[in-house]
């Protein structure tokens, strides 16, 4: 939404502030100004001049010497190359030391260009006559300007007067961010009301006069609305003997101030009224309206229609159409039809001001891929009461501009009149909500500024129908707050019962896991939750694997972001890949984030979201360092159960000989392994990559920080070394488990301290050396007890295939 400050001042005559002041104060009272542009920012010392004479330049064929009357003193001499200068022309002249905005090709120079008196080919020139482009605008807004040359006023302006003002360039365009609740502020009038309230000035509503001859519009047209929900009001008025022509300068300047180009009087009037009241209007050539009848109905499925921009559209039965007795002539609220558009030969115009359902217009406009100025306004949901003001205003302007003869009366289909809301006025509650002490009287004063009136008899605040945002006490409180001043509301801290803040157990465990990962050298990554369905192929996952059943986004940004991940690896691997491509030598990353597992597809209920800690590294460490990190993390997470690793060969993205499932007791917590070289290749990483994925939800369930102190040992331990020889296929984990299982009540510690494979032992065998400690808490152990236990262990180890090494 844009406004022209000059236009605003027409309704708030007392408004006297700089563009910046306006911006700041309006923003603080709730009408957020995003920025402003002063058309005259870089224009200085520019007056209206009258060319008195034109003489040839003695030394240049393309230059002429003009004597120009600038209203005071002697006429000044200006040398120009402009082709269109004529004697008696009134032109904008920038005087010596003045500034223009840019060159005549329309290129603007920041800060403007200073113009100084000087010689041109030996002849003194004391200023410059300006083209509209040099003044920072264009022929788009000043259609009377020549294609190439000096701007020549086509109206009578006073010689010597301020040319910037005469051209309407003394205006400021403010741009707003209007929030969706303030539909009324998509209109200059709406903003003007806010400005008047903000600056505490009087708001002056434009006077709308009765217009029309003695005829009656209903003799020209009838209106039938078939869907009163989608079209809550439809007003038709008729103007005959229409004379198409340019609109007056004042109207063109107003439209320029909000960035609208002048076209002709009828288009300009509808645009003017749309900007002024926020009500889009449409004009039809009445001669094209068959049966002199307007029917408002929804389209038929598959119906085709060509809009006035020449585009053909296929319609559906939820799109509202304006039709005549036989055929559609416009898409309601979006764009008129080619078949009924105004041409220069139009005689009689049918004006339409209607109120269409905002949601319907928004959806239709989306469906048709057409967003017009009109649909942009309608989709906010307009006040049907504004339609009457707007159409009468338009007819009044038709009359004032002598653009046609307005036919008396109107056809107004408005079965359910919209009235404004009424809200109970509860000043104490308002103060209680705001934490303020504003008097009832002051509140009423604030309300009245924006036409909310207090009815002392009923205790109600009457809300005008254009304020669709006020329904309850809190809405009134906002009006009070913004006119009292958000900045004046005190700053206090909430009292009341105190509450226990902070994190819950699962958040604490997650933090511990993240810290442990970090202290093991992993940096934290953040990746997207959605990814490409191709991820499964990259990870070499079988086509029939149920893990491929991912939730699909209906409207993704593209295929690459179209499914919700069921595996957490893609993010980390892509990040490692990026690091590898950036030649970062050794990188270790972790991510703490969710995967999304649908219970069924298509999704009927919310999926299961599981928190995963995913670790990945290349260029450093090996399987066992990753394993160390995992154990450190699990330990920090308070997982007390014994960890077990079960070698797995069938995880498609992991090295079949270097992968394991991680168990704590019987609970599977995740995976660890070397990335399958093929998968690493798919991610363009030409090094060994180690990964681990841990399920945080299960870890949290196992997490236990309930530690009990055990008395420090008072009696000595007995330690025996056990050097074993086994076939390579025997797992160290099984041997250790066997020792523990058979260690008896005094077994304290089992530690593997050496692994050897090589020349000194038979091929296919390995040597494992354990240190096994026994201790009793209440006595000094006797050797004989330990010996007996060791015999049992050794015996059981034999059964496992592990012999004592000689």
């Amino acid at each position: 939404m844009n406004t022209s400050l000059n236009w605003i001042k027409e309704y708030v005559p007392g408004l006297n502030c700089s563009a910046q002041e306006y911006t700041d104060k309006m923003t603080l009272s709730g009408t957020k100004v995003e920025g402003f542009e002063c058309a005259a920012d870089n224009l200085d010392k520019i007056v209206v001049g009258k060319i008195l004479s034109i003489d040839k330049h003695p030394d240049a064929d393309k230059l002429v010497i003009c004597k120009v009357d600038i209203g005071k003193g002697e006429p000044i001499q200006i040398v120009t190359g402009a082709p269109n200068v004529v004697v008696n022309a009134l032109v904008p002249v920038v005087l010596d030391g003045g500034r223009v905005a840019g060159d005549h090709d329309g290129h603007k120079t920041p800060g403007g260009i200073e113009i100084k008196a000087g010689e041109l080919r030996g002849v003194m020139s004391n200023g410059m006559m300006c083209s509209i482009e040099e003044l920072g605008s264009s022929k788009d807004y000043y259609p009377e300007a020549p294609d190439n040359g000096i701007y020549i006023f086509d109206e009578d302006v006073e010689v010597g007067s301020d040319a910037i003002k005469a051209l309407g360039l003394d205006d400021v365009t403010h741009e707003y961010e209007i929030t969706s609740n303030r539909v009324d502020c998509y209109a200059t009038i709406g903003i003007a009301i806010e400005a008047a309230a903000t600056f505490d000035k009087e708001f002056k509503m434009p006077e709308i006069k009765e217009t029309g001859n003695s005829e009656n519009a209903s003799d020209y047209i009838s209106v039938e609305v078939k869907d009163n929900k989608l079209c809550s009001r439809y007003i038709a008025r008729v103007v005959k003997n229409v004379k198409i022509g340019p609109s007056p300068k004042w109207m063109q300047r107003r439209l320029k101030g909000v960035g609208i180009r002048p076209i002709n009087n009828i288009v300009d009037i509808t645009n003017y009224v749309m900007e002024e009241f926020g009500q889009p209007m449409h004009a039809y050539d009445l001669s094209t309206v068959e049966d002199n009848k307007i029917v408002v109905r929804t389209a038929d499925n598959g119906e085709k229609f060509t809009t006035l921009d020449g585009q053909e559209h296929e319609l559906t039965n939820d799109i509202l159409m304006i039709c005549d007795g036989k055929k559609p002539i416009g898409i309601a609220g979006i764009m008129g039809g080619e078949n009924s558009m105004i041409t220069d030969s139009v005689k009689t115009v049918l004006f339409e001001a209607a109120c269409f359902d905002g949601t319907n217009i928004r959806l239709s406009s989306k469906k048709l891929g057409m967003r017009t100025d009109a649909s942009g306004k309608f989709e906010k949901g307009l006040d049907p009461n504004t339609a009457l003001l707007a159409i009468n205003r338009a007819c009044q302007l038709m009359e004032e501009l002598d653009a046609g003869e307005v036919v008396g009366g109107m056809v107004d289909v408005y079965p359910n009149v919209r009235t404004g809301n009424e809200v109970k006025f509860e000043p104490e509650k308002i103060n209680k909500l705001l934490g303020t002490d504003v008097s009832k009287e002051d509140m009423i004063k604030y309300f009245e500024k924006v036409f909310l009136t207090y009815d002392a008899a009923t205790g109600m605040i009457k809300v005008p129908s254009w304020r669709q945002d006020i329904h309850c006490m809190a809405d009134l409180a906002e009006e009070v707050a913004r006119f009292y001043g958000y900045d004046k509301i005190p700053m206090t801290l909430p009292g009341g019962e105190s509450t226990m803040g902070g994190k819950n157990k699962s958040q604490i465990v997650r933090d511990k896991a993240k810290n442990a990962a970090r202290f093991n050298g992993f940096s934290e990554a953040m990746c997207f939750s959605f990814e490409s369905p191709k991820v499964f192929d990259k990870l070499c996952i079988d086509a029939a694997d149920p893990i491929r059943n991912a939730i699909t986004i209906l409207n993704p940004l593209g295929e690459d972001y179209s499914i919700m991940r069921t595996l957490s690896l893609e993010g980390i691997l892509t990040s490692l890949s990026l690091n590898y491509a950036h030649r970062n030598k050794a990188v270790a990353l972790y991510e703490m984030a969710k995967v999304y597992l649908p219970k069924e597809l298509p999704l009927k209920e919310l999926p299961e979201e599981r928190m995963k800690l995913t670790l990945g590294m290349y260029g450093m460490g090996d399987f066992f360092e990753m394993k160390g990190a995992v154990e450190d993390i699990l330990n920090e997470c308070g997982v007390r159960a014994n960890l077990k690793y079960e070698a797995v060969k069938d995880i498609p993205y992991l090295h079949p000989g270097r992968a394991a499932k991680i168990f704590a007791g019987n609970v599977e917590l995740g995976l660890i392994g070397e990335l399958h070289p093929q998968v690493a290749g798919n991610y363009d990483i030409k090094e060994k990559v180690y990964i681990a994925v841990l399920d945080m939800d299960d870890i949290v369930k196992l997490s236990d920080y309930d530690i009990k102190y055990q008395g420090l040992a008072k009696f000595p331990a007995i330690t025996r070394d056990l050097s074993l020889l086994t076939e390579k296929s025997v797992l160290a984990g099984d041997i250790e488990a066997c020792i523990r299982r058979n260690g008896g009540e005094y077994l304290e510690k089992v530690e593997l301290f050496d692994v050897y494979e090589g020349d000194r032992i038979a091929e296919g065998f390995k040597s494992l050396a354990y240190s096994v400690s026994f201790r009793a808490l209440d006595k000094t152990l006797e050797d004989s007890i330990v010996n007996k236990q060791m015999d049992i262990i050794i015996n059981e180890l034999k059964a496992l295939g592990a012999q004592l090494r000689q």
Binding site: R362, L433, A477, P494, G496, G501
Partner: protein
């Protein structure tokens, strides 16, 4: 005899004083104080003395021994110190050689910012609550006073799974779910991932993080909201930070506001960082709309509530002066390691 003793003493003191190391000192100790040493010899000669002379002489011998022992001990300490100093001198290292570090990873800048926010609000009694990222339309919109076809739904550019299930566009649904449980008073913040269909560029991402805060209690006011958020801003951005509240609109709060903080780079004078305005837009907030409270079965006549929402990435970008949002999701080690 006395002369003899004096002579021994002098001789001993001299020899002790001349000992240059602990070995020589020990030699002296053996020579004078040992079993076969001179003083022992003197004691042995006591048998030649009379009964009266003996005690006096014994005492004299002991005094001499004590004097020698004291001096010996003193000298020993000196020598030991000297030897230690010599040893330490030889052990000198180049302290400017590089440190041996364990390789610790870095936290993500968003996590750093989040931890700050969590610390501040935890301290004020706010519990940290999380919820589903794939959310029911009801919780993401309807329960937040955004009915079907409300334009705000378009504004938020929602990713849909189907007509009832969306990727949450805000973490407010967690607040609704928590309010529904009915435990009051309530102070909570809900951080987490949210999704909006924005194309990826230097300032937009389709996936980002929000922290939304909520307090529900009797007598909570807009003034309390202002005070709380001012305190937050000062903690987060520095003691000299000033705040400015501008009226705004959100469907789930009324009255609503946006909060700006004075530019922490220029202190509010206006610079390139704050685009000359001296202020930086930080968050949206407001008093929870009575419709929202009603839908959660909280009586708006008895309870009031305020809520606020802040984008984590925005804070991280501002606080750490990161100029491209995409860096946060590339996870380049050289980027991440700067946040250690």
């Amino acid at each position: 005899m006395n002369d003899k003793l004096r002579e021994i003493k002098e001789k001993a003191i001299k020899q002790i004083a001349e000992s240059e190391d602990l070995g020589r000192l020990n030699d002296a100790r053996v020579e004078f104080l040992g079993k076969k040493g001179e003083l022992s010899q003197m004691l042995k000669s006591m048998k030649d003395l009379t009964e009266e002379e003996r005690p006096k002489f014994g005492q004299l011998v002991n005094e001499t021994r004590q004097a020698i022992e004291d001096f010996l001990e003193e000298t020993k300490k000196k020598l030991e110190n000297k030897e230690l100093s010599l040893k330490l001198e030889k052990e000198v290292i180049d302290v400017t050689l590089p440190a041996k570090k364990i390789n610790v990873g870095a936290k993500h800048p968003c996590t750093l910012a989040l931890e700050e926010v969590e610390r501040i609000f935890s301290g004020m009694g706010y519990e940290i609550v999380e919820g589903p990222e794939i959310e029911k339309d009801y919780y993401n919109f309807e329960a937040l006073n955004i009915p079907a076809n409300h334009p705000a739904k378009d504004e938020q550019d929602t990713f849909y799974i189907n007509s009832d299930i969306v990727l949450r566009t805000q973490t407010s649904p967690v607040q609704v779910r928590t309010m529904e449980k009915g435990k009051l008073p309530l102070r909570m913040i809900s951080p987490g991932r949210v999704f909006r269909s924005d194309e990826i560029d230097a300032t937009h991402s389709p996936s980002f993080h929000q922290i939304e805060g909520l307090i529900v209690d009797k007598n909570v006011t807009l003034a309390d909201l202002k005070g709380t958020l001012e305190m937050f801003a000062k903690e987060m951005f520095g003691e000299n930070t000033r705040v400015k509240f501008r009226p705004h609109h959100f469907p789930f709060t009324e009255p609503s506001a946006e909060m700006d903080v004075s530019c922490f780079k220029c202190g509010g004078k206006g610079c390139r960082f704050c685009k000359g305005s001296g202020w930086i837009e930080i968050l949206g907030c407001g008093m929870v709309h009575p419709n929202v409270l009603n839908m959660c079965n909280i009586d708006p006549d008895e309870y009031s509530a305020f809520a606020f929402g802040v984008g984590l990435e925005r804070i991280a970008l501002l606080k750490y002066e990161i100029d491209d949002l995409r860096l946060l999701y590339e996870n380049d080690d050289r980027f991440l390691k700067q946040f250690k």
